[in-house]
């Protein structure tokens, strides 16, 4: 049981909260991860809808926070993808808030980090790439493929350049999803390992118990650092989405 308590991987377990539901033969159980997603949805809605329900001219605390998130993301989108990018503002905003709240809520004890699941981050990244490709083809037709053939490149090396561009494009969803997933995973494992040190040192019953506060201080510092990482990774995810969307809007290099 003690071994179970300090297993740093256990926190990533996905377990159904109710008896399994089946859609055909596939399991779509409502798990602890799903519950956290619902909480994220609830909190974001609380902030953005309940917080702005009074529509005050002079905002209260919650409304000021909602307005700040709005303007922050709007500035990011406008600055990166231009005014035309603003048509994707709700999409980028939803992504940013979802990832930010997932990362932050994951730091709470006994909660779950939705973004520590590669399937979740990859699904979000794939959604971004689908939107990029879809909008690029819709807006520019085959001209969108010019994204892979930069102008002003000498004919002989063009095939290599195109190859490199295609590889770089295909690696985007992977890098986008793995960056977020790995950051969250590593941060939470580190926290758990340090916590395990505290438990082991205290439980040793020897003089080693005296140095138990050291990893505990480490946890405090790491938690602050993880807060930074949580916000930063949400921002990175949002701004890279904007950069990719900008490619779809302006495919010429």
């Amino acid at each position: 049981m003690a071994e179970q308590a300090i297993n740093p991987i256990e926190q990533f377990n996905v377990s159904p909260l109710f008896s399994s539901h089946k859609l055909g033969h596939t399991d779509i159980a409502f798990t602890n991860a799903s519950l956290l997603m619902v909480i994220i949805l609830g909190l974001v809605s609380l902030l953005m809808i309940y917080g702005t329900s009074r529509r005050s001219l002079v905002p209260g605390r919650l409304q000021a926070a909602a307005e700040m998130s709005y303007e922050f993301v709007a500035d990011t989108v406008r600055g990166t993808a231009g005014n035309e990018g603003m048509r994707f503002f709700p999409f980028v905003f939803s992504l940013f808030m979802f990832v930010l709240f997932a990362n932050l809520l994951g730091l709470l004890p006994f909660s779950y980090t939705v973004t520590s699941q590669i399937v979740v981050t990859f699904a979000l990244a794939a959604l971004v790439m689908l939107v990029v490709i879809g909008y690029g083809l819709f807006r520019h037709g085959t001209h969108f493929l010019g994204l892979f053939a930069p102008s002003g490149v000498a004919k002989p090396i063009l095939p290599f350049i195109v190859l490199i561009e295609i590889i770089s494009f295909l690696s985007r969803p992977i890098s986008l999803s793995v960056r977020l997933f790995a950051n969250m995973l590593a941060g939470h494992i580190t926290l758990k390992v340090f916590g395990g040190f505290v438990v082991l040192l205290l439980g040793s019953g020897t003089a080693a118990a005296l140095i138990a506060p050291l990893p505990f201080i480490g946890i405090i510092i790491l938690t602050a650092f993880e807060l930074l990482v949580a916000a930063l990774q949400a921002y990175v995810f949002a701004i890279l989405t904007c950069v990719y969307l900008n490619d779809a809007i302006h495919p010429g290099h």
């Binding site: 399994s20 033969h25 596939t26 159980a29 949805l41 953005m48 399937v119 979740v120 995973l185």
Partner: protein, 180 residues
């Protein structure tokens, strides 16, 4: 068929919780994607139809309100400046008029004063002249009386000395001669 079996096996894994590294445990993928799609879809729908238009409206409302207030303020300031300028002109105007009025009154009073003085002086001069004339008359009359008295006295003296009435013409000549 094999896929279905695989799914069933995965489902049992999901229920019991296996020792594999959870993020790579593919049995949970479908459930996670299923709920992610539902919840992210809901989030996107709520944000794009309710929350973001509302916040955008709030910000736009505030921006236009601030701009309107600033425009009002600058218009009022212009009005105040104009009113100040009008006040200044009016004040200068009134000052000028008051000065002109004072000047005119002063001149009028001065003229009236002069006229009164002149009239008074004329009157006094006339009175003085009348008085002088009266004095002259009285003097002449008095002098006439004196002449009569002198003539009578001279005639009486002459009659007394000579015993005969005096020649009035000689008396008159004598008196005229003595009267220097």
């Amino acid at each position: 068929m094999a896929v279905a079996e695989q799914n069933l096996a995965n489902a049992s894994d999901l229920a019991t919780g296996s020792a594999a590294f959870p993020p790579f445990e593919s049995s949970t993928y479908l459930s996670q994607i299923f709920w992610l799609v539902i919840i992210f879809g809901l989030l996107y729908w709520l944000m794009s139809t309710v929350a973001l238009p509302r916040v955008g409206a709030i910000l736009e409302n505030r921006r236009s309100r601030i701009e309107g207030d600033l425009a009002d303020a600058s218009r009022m300031q212009e009005q105040a400046t104009a009113a100040g300028a009008a006040y200044d002109t009016k004040l200068a105007d009134a000052k000028g008029r008051a000065q002109a009025l004072a000047q005119r009154t002063h001149e009028e009073l001065l003229a009236a004063d002069d006229a009164k003085r002149h009239a008074l002086e004329d009157e006094l001069n006339a009175k003085m002249a009348a008085a002088e004339r009266q004095i002259g008359d009285t003097k002449t009359r008095a002098m006439g009386n004196v002449q009569g008295i002198a003539r009578d006295a001279a005639a009486a003296i002459v009659e007394h000395l000579t015993g005969k009435p005096a020649d009035p013409q000689a008396v008159d000549a004598a008196i005229a001669a003595s009267k220097i």
